[in-house]
Amino acid sequence: MRNFVLSLHSGVDDHHNVFLLKRFVDAALQVGHQIDCIFLYQDGVYHANQNIQLASDEFPLVETWQSLHTLNIPILLCVTAAEKRGIDIDKTGSFKVAGLAEFSMLAAKADKWVQFK
């Protein structure tokens, strides 16, 4: 068993990256690894926007995040990056407003930090 921290760096228009992240999480958990957190950094913070609406034939972005939340993995977002990008940090749904410091402490304890960008 190994423990991972993941960071997501791309914005809401990059569905493929979230798809890959979800696949990674599922595969890692399946073989008994642990995911300590998912950190939204740089343009990744846009995923905390609560106004994302996609057509039904698009990748189920919102549902994918919901299913990640049900796995009880802390999903943190960088407050500085969010404020710079105009994200309403009082309305981030299940995404937890945190900072680079909080993430770095988790990364310092993890076996591997994997980036999705």
């Binding site: 950094y41 740089q42 680079l100 410091a101 770095s104 310092a108 980036q115 960008k117």
Partner: protein, 119 residues
């Protein structure tokens, strides 16, 4: 303590990649991790001395490079090939820095627990 390497490859005015790399290095140094920073490709331009942003209204993040020393971040490296590409020598740079060959960069990466690219 973890060995963490941050790699930057974007130019200093390409979004805020260099600032985010710098923030990441400073945070990990603050929680006493063994942090290294490697600047390569266009990112080497961030190290060039003589930028003057004082009248531009832009944040002068080049000044923040000096804080690396305050946080005891000594392992700052630059890709020797990228320096050559921009016809720069170590004398043109604003901080004291070690140029690394591609082989040396490879060996630096193999020593790390975490290697991340902030671009």
């Amino acid at each position: 303590m973890k060995n963490i390497l941050v790699i930057s490859n974007k130019a200093p005015f390409d979004k805020i990649h260099i600032r985010e790399s710098l923030d990441t290095c400073l945070i990990f140094a603050a929680i006493e991790q063994n942090i290294s920073w490697l600047l390569k490709d266009d990112a080497v331009l961030a190290l060039k001395s003589g930028y003057s942003l004082s009248n531009s209204g832009l944040k002068d993040f080049f000044k923040t490079l000096k804080t690396l020393e305050i946080y005891d971040i000594e392992q700052v490296y630059v890709c020797a090939e990228s320096l050559k590409k921009y016809a720069l020598s170590c004398d043109d740079l604003s901080i004291e820095i070690t140029p690394l060959s591609l082989e040396e960069q490879q060996s630096l990466i193999t020593k790390q627990d975490h290697t991340v690219v902030l671009s």
